[in-house]
Symmetry: C2
């Protein structure tokens, strides 16, 4: 059950001029579900992306990076049910065939099409079934296809994930809309599972790349479900320029700050949705490390807490067995950490200070916080001004069930 | 249920001259279970140890290191039920009181006594109850107390862990006997939970330290259950010198190699026992990475596979979803890894090569291996001669149950 997360309201998802989305049922893994998505982009759209750091990166990731470097993007094609990762040269050939077919249907070069896949690793992409279903996707292309698209890219997700924001730049309404998927194998490194965010503002490629990096650092790079970095992570940011406001081509341009913030907002909300719908999640946990010497040490400690199976099972049980948090801080790899100088809070309760249990700490206070389904752990290192936040979920029986049964 | 592990046969546990062990029921956490152990050492015994790298290391670890540096060791005192970690100055004061009482009973200095604790973190050590039960431990001291001792230090362990070896050095029989505990919070870093190994051979402190480092590198530093490094890990190696063979004071001494090997054997068997009795374990998994450029990259990849919750749940389900292993290899942090050059074996089945599924790989072959309860994963990097091995277990519903319920 996702934590405080329900399907998006279609009325609150705004179309982005120049972006059309169409889905179909290709029967890739399961019969009769939406599992194939084509996104078509108006000519002149700028596209930037960040991709998984996994060395076993998938064939579609290799192709998407290569195509992106060669010419302007006109379309994207996304399938669920098969990751097309760990598939070698054969995997690249099949993904290329899919791109070529999309190009034929949309009258563009194969290299103007970027492919994305998600699902089981080390199985061959059923390119015949995909090619057969592509015309249905193209026939369904619509600026109002965002919710369908969010559904078509789900794997073990239980809820489609989509977010919109609107703002005004130079007197023109600007929209930012994004979708994402992913609930397991979530520990992005410069990217997440799959996310597609689009705006109709005109933005130069350089500024768009900068906005994407700004946003991913504050969103997808701050979440973990199980510490497993996927082979297929990709986040794409599209700017179609269909609104009449002046182009944002420098960080001093009118609207740069507002748009950057709106994009980061959309990414943060999508990233948190991944965690809220994390496999087996029953609680949404924010780990905040403050007053550190630098961001690296704050992130190391936050991830150490966020990855600990013992901390996560304690949250699942609503058990204030908070010594497990101290242990995770202690083995975070920050070698010169002075544990007697730091403070640990659960919600607003000071749990530990001076290297041990805080004077006045009462377990019933921590129990009260533990019973909630949104919990914040805050560690104050008291030796600097840097900070970092990680969002994660608990580790439940359901996580094991989902992943023990995933392929069956 | 432990994987192919049963309680040790008392007839196969050999006494070590100069080491006496006595246990008692102190009611530290649970009424009426053996939870307190005193080990008394003959005068002239050499003792060395390796301890947790966790920055939140426990009060007893701090004291044991400090006492060890000050004078020869005459006794050790071990309790289960309370880790006395995250307890600040108060924790050190209580552990010191326990050592002082042992010293009074055994007529030695407080600093000749080393304390060890295991159990829940961030709770006060019930030193009154421990002090009250110490005379019972001392009255029970016996050279045949090893099995009782192995039982007294258990926490979530389901089976006591003890191993003996005998060898001959210079015509004299030499014994090595050891005990260990630990089944969760297991990802030792230079040490493990608690292990005490003793030999009656005469060995200089310097050689003993070298043998311990040799042994822990090949044993306790190669296992993981959940990736959580404990606050209390300690491995102690004792040499009483009660056998009449010549002292081993250099690595050229008669018997150095044999004894080193016997100690490593005992440690490897104990370390594997920790994994076999890992919380919720249903399978014992050996991850071997071979033909790497150096040991570090081999270990990084082996641990990446051994820690992955997705790999571990697939083993639990006996599901040959082996793409998860490729993903774990890919995110191990070895940046220049050429995934197209490596081979992945499950048992004797070549699963992946050339960056994808191996030609001729059939899932039914992998399924046959997956159905076993002892499984070896082997990754050949094909770019050097280094190798590393990690032993781990699967991730089951039972792991979550044990850790969600541990304190209740």
């Amino acid at each position: 059950m996702p934590v405080n997360l329900s399907a998006p309201n279609p009325d609150e998802l705004f179309a982005v001029g120049g972006v059309r989305l169409g889905v179909a049922r290709a029967g890739i893994r399961t019969a009769d579900r939406k599992d194939l998505l084509v996104i078509s982009l108006a000519e002149g759209s700028e596209v930037v992306g960040v991709f998984t750091q996994n060395r076993f990166c998938a064939a579609p990731v290799i192709l998407a990076k290569s195509h992106l470097a060669q010419m302007p993007v006109r379309a994207m094609v996304v399938n669920t049910g098969c990751a097309n990762a760990g598939t070698g040269e054969e995997g690249k050939a099949r993904a290329t065939r899919v791109c070529r077919e999309v190009g034929l249907l949309l009258d563009c070069d194969v290299r103007a099409v970027l492919p994305y896949s998600t699902g089981v690793i080390m199985e061959d992409l059923p390119d015949d079934r995909i090619v057969e279903a592509l015309p249905a996707c193209v026939n369904a292309l619509s600026e109002h296809g965002w919710l369908d698209a969010a559904e078509a890219i789900m794997t073990t997700d239980t809820v489609p994930k989509a977010v919109s924001r609107q703002l005004t730049v130079g007197g023109s309404a600007v929209t930012v809309t994004g979708i994402a998927k992913g609930s397991g194998m979530i520990r992005p490194n410069m990217a997440t599972m799959l996310a597609f965010i689009a705006t109709d503002a005109p933005v130069s490629k350089k500024m768009l790349q900068r906005m994407l990096e700004h946003a991913t650092q504050r969103s997808f790079n701050c979440v973990t479900v199980d510490g497993d970095t996927s082979t297929n992570d990709s986040v794409m940011l599209i700017a179609t320029g269909s609104t009449p406001c002046p182009e944002i081509c420098a960080d001093t341009s009118d609207g740069y700050g507002l748009l950057q913030e709106a994009i980061a907002d959309v990414c943060i909300e999508l990233a948190q949705m991944l965690v809220r719908d994390g496999e087996g999640a029953t609680k949404f946990i924010t780990v905040r490390v403050e007053d550190g010497r630098d961001e690296d040490e704050c992130r190391a400690i936050a991830y150490s807490i966020g990855h600990s199976p013992l901390v996560k099972t304690a949250f699942y049980a609503s058990d204030p067995n908070l010594g497990r948090i101290l242990a995770a801080i202690g083995y975070s790899g920050v070698d010169d950490l002075d544990v007697s100088a730091l403070d640990v809070y659960l919600g607003n309760v000071l749990v530990a200070s001076g290297g041990g249990r805080a004077p006045g700490y009462k377990e019933e206070d921590a129990q009260r916080i533990m019973n909630e389904d949104e919990i914040t752990v805050c560690v104050r290192l008291n030796r600097g001004v840097a900070s970092a936040t990680v969002w994660t979920c608990d580790l439940s029986h359901q996580y094991v069930s989902i992943n023990a049964d995933y392929r069956s």
